[in-house]
Subunit: 201 residues, 2 copies
C-alpha cells in the first residue's frame, strides 16, 4: 500500500475548493488515498511577500474570470466568490485539526461541508459559531467543535501543521505532494494524474 | 478568417519559451494564426508589486523543479535555466518590434532563435551585440538589427506595446488572448485548445 497523497489547502482558496471536489477521485483512480491537510496561507504570504490572488493589481480581475471559467469547464455547479473574500480560516482549520486527532472519519465530510458552505452557499466560515454549525451539519458534535477552536492543544497542533507545511515548501493552495514530488495549483491535476499513472516522468 | 491569437511573452520567461514551442501548432489545429508580441515584464512587476517567479521565497525552489518537470512532460529537449536569469529583454524585444514593422516574415524565426539561444544554449540575450548576432543567424540584417535597438521610434513602439498590453490586463508570460478571452500561463494551453475547439465554455 502506497502512502497517502498529501493535499494541503486553505479553506479560503477557490482553486483549493475546486481541488477538493476532484482529489479523492483522482487518487482513487490510481489506488491511492488522500491525507486532507487544511493549513493557513496567511503566514505563507507573510514569509513569501505574496498576497491573495484577487487582491493583486491586474491579476485580481483576471483571476475572477479564470475562476468562473474553470468552474464551468470542470462542471462545478453553483460556484461564486463569497461576499466576504478572502477570509482568515483558523476556525474551520482548527475544527478539522481536532477531528483528525479524534474522529478521522469525519475529516472529509466536514472539509466538503466547509468548502461548499463558503463557495456555494456564501456562509461566513471565518465565524467560529458558523464554522461549528457547519461541522455539526456534517456529523460532528457542534458544541465540541466550537470548544475545540479555543483549545490550546488544537491551536498548537494547527500551528505545527502550518510550520511543517512551510518546511516542506508549501506556498499556495491547493498544494499536493505525491511521494515527495510537489505540485502547486488545480491546473496541475493533469500532471498529477500522469505522475501517478507512470510513477514519474 | 478569424483574427490572429495574441501571444504576449517576455523573452526571459521560461514558461513563455515552452509556449513559444507549441503556440503555432495549437493555433493551426483550429485554423488560426498567431500574433507574436514580445513585451517586458519589468513594468508589470512594478505595477502589480509582483516579482520574477524564481526570486520569490518558497516559490523559487518549486518553480525550478516544475520547469524541469514541465519540459520533460512536453518533450522540450535541452531546457535549463540560463546562467544569468532573469534578464532585462529590451534588446531582443526591440529587434522584434523593428521586424514587425519592416520584415514581418522574420518575426517568428527570430523569436524562436532568441528563445532557444537563451534557454537551450545559455547565450546572453540581454546583451545588444549578442541579440543582434542571434537575429542575424535567423535571417535578419545583423547591423540593421543592432541599429534598431537604439532607434527612438523602435523604443517608442515597444513602450507603446507594453502599455497596450498592460491596458489589456496582461500581467504575466505567456499570456494569450483569444477573441478578448485572456489565458495566463502555459498551464492553460489545454483550456485554450478547448476554447478554440468549442468557441467558449
Amino acid at each position: 500500500m502506497s502512502a497517502p497523497i498529501d493535499f494541503y489547502f486553505d479553506f479560503s482558496s477557490p482553486y483549493g475548493f475546486f481541488a477538493s471536489e476532484r482529489i479523492d477521485a483522482l487518487a482513487a483512480r490510481h489506488g491511492r488515498t488522500v491525507n486532507w491537510r487544511p493549513m493557513l496561507l496567511g503566514p505563507v504570504f507573510k514569509l513569501a511577500g505574496t498576497a491573495p490572488l484577487t487582491s493583486v493589481p491586474l491579476k485580481g480581475e483576471y483571476s475572477r474570470r479564470d475562476l468562473a471559467r474553470t468552474a464551468r469547464l470542470h462542471a462545478i455547479e453553483g460556484f461564486r466568490l463569497p461576499t466576504r473574500f478572502p477570509v482568515a480560516t483558523q476556525a474551520p482549520a482548527r475544527i478539522v485539526t481536532w477531528l483528525k486527532a479524534t474522529q478521522p472519519q469525519l475529516v472529509v465530510p466536514v472539509c466538503h461541508a466547509v468548502y461548499r458552505a463558503y463557495f456555494l452557499a456564501d456562509r461566513d466560515i471565518a465565524d467560529a459559531d458558523t464554522a461549528a454549525t457547519i461541522a455539526g451539519e456534517a456529523g460532528a458534535d457542534r458544541a465540541a467543535a466550537r470548544a475545540a477552536m479555543d483549545d490550546p492543544q488544537v491551536k498548537d497542533a494547527l500551528r505545527r501543521e502550518v510550520d511543517g507545511a512551510i518546511a516542506r515548501g508549501v506556498f499556495g493552495s491547493p498544494f499536493v505532494i505525491v511521494d515527495d514530488e510537489p505540485f502547486w495549483g488545480f491546473d496541475h491535476f493533469e500532471q498529477i494524474d500522469r505522475w501517478l499513472a507512470t510513477g514519474g516522468f
